[in-house]
Symmetry: C2
Subunit: 267 residues, 2 copies
């Protein structure tokens, strides 16, 4: 059951506190999350284009793999903001590192050369997934609601990394790159550790209900990043819906970018 | 001037609290640090072999690049402990990511398949180098001794990563891999954020005097990692000498592995 919250849905913010952004490039827009957030940004009035291996219907697309540093460069001309969602989700192998680390490096480099002002990086909860094997999180994610202590324990973005797989390692590398580009090249970078988004918009297990991220909340958290205040130079935020067994912190997310989930799942 | 400390130099530890280690594989042993630590381990009685692109005189060498996952595998047969010092120190480019990230992944994978018990990873202070652009560290590293507050401020391994370059990003990725292999494959992993080691065994600037690591201290910190207690399953430690303007924390290093620097530089 998705609980509908009463959070008001703000109109697009455009004032002296936000970076002037008109043109947004979305990588991986043929993917589930890339599609959801790309369409949302388009509806909010941004000029959205795609960097994608295949054409994205309805959007100007530069067809290239992010592993090809030269081929992707033209996509970044005139771009104010990059939303980098392209990722290789397969098993750990050379392809995964090539796409998720070298590809991400190529995207940051191209953004830097194009003078991109803000970079939104699609990171993942896989960066800290191993907390889930320890209590109290283990019981929580098995939806033993009676066992949830008050106050509810959380995993914080600032806790030590505990990647659950090489995908999580690659995302940590992408976050670290973001810090580097933010500090040395003046590009504002916000990394979202995204929860589980499914085509059906429903979680398929107790564990995935704990980290569920609805389409609507995924769309919101990305535009919140795009429209976050200019003085947000670097940040890592968790992005999940307000699920009953949620163990990922959202206080920092709300504080940094104003995100308040509208949805939440109770398994 | 190198200050000689009075720290006793312990003999090789071998008791019920340490992992039984006989055979140690050193990667990058033709390099400065790899050579220093490889010779030290050999003198302490370990059977040291090398994984290196070129032959390492006096040591059995498997000649291969760590970027070649298949070619390096034979080097790991029967190995108890890996000391991974091979790294690409050139400018940020595809080679750097390939060697420092994919190569490191290949080394971890080969170690996992060979049943290696302990993995010592040569990380770098580049992972947090951007702290140096802020006070109070900025003044300290310029050797303005009068400006050093008491107690002396430190950068801790647990502070958020602030890589100064893509080399630092790659080392953060290698540390995160270590955590992953430690938690999911039972391999003990200790990452050393090494300071500046020079062929002359002297720093060449005030900044490098702050992060100076003598040959003797480099040798010590690595054998301390090899001989650290069995229950050390994962750790990140700073490795520098006890320099006058030292801002990198060593308390955690001493606590975790017993390292106490014998040297220290005053510029």
């Amino acid at each position: 059951m998705v609980k509908r919250a009463t959070t008001p849905y703000h109109g697009r913010m455009n004032n002296e506190n936000t970076i002037p952004i008109t043109k947004v490039l979305v990588t991986g827009m043929s993917g589930l999350i890339g599609g959801v957030v790309g369409r949302e940004l388009s509806q909010r009035g941004y000029e959205v284009s795609a960097l994608n291996r295949q054409d994205v219907s309805g959007y100007p697309t530069t067809r290239a793999s992010i592993t090809d540093a030269d081929a992707i460069r033209p996509a970044f001309e005139g771009i104010d903001c990059v939303v980098h969602m392209a990722a290789y989700l397969g098993p750990a192998d050379a392809s995964q590192l090539s796409v998720n680390i070298e590809g991400t490096y190529n995207v940051y480099e191209a953004a830097k050369y194009a003078g991109v002002k803000r970079f939104v990086f699609g990171s993942s909860g896989a960066t800290q997934m191993r907390y889930e094997v320890d209590e109290p999180f283990l019981s929580m994610i098995e939806a033993r609601y009676d066992d949830i202590p008050e106050p509810t324990p959380r995993v914080y973005h600032s806790s030590p990394p505990r990647p659950g797989n090489m995908y999580g390692v690659a995302k940590l590398a992408g976050e670290a790159m973001g810090r580097y580009y933010s500090e040395t090249h003046g590009m504002s970078v916000i990394c979202i550790r995204l929860g589980r988004v499914t085509a059906e918009n429903e979680p398929d297990s107790p564990r995935n209900a704990a980290v569920y991220l609805s389409h609507r909340d995924a769309a919101q958290i990305v535009w919140r990043c795009v429209e976050a205040p200019t003085d947000v130079r670097y940040g890592i935020v968790y992005g999940v819906s307000n699920n009953r067994t949620r163990f990922r912190d959202l206080e920092h997310t709300t504080k940094l970018i104003g995100y308040v989930p509208q949805d939440g799942w109770t398994w």
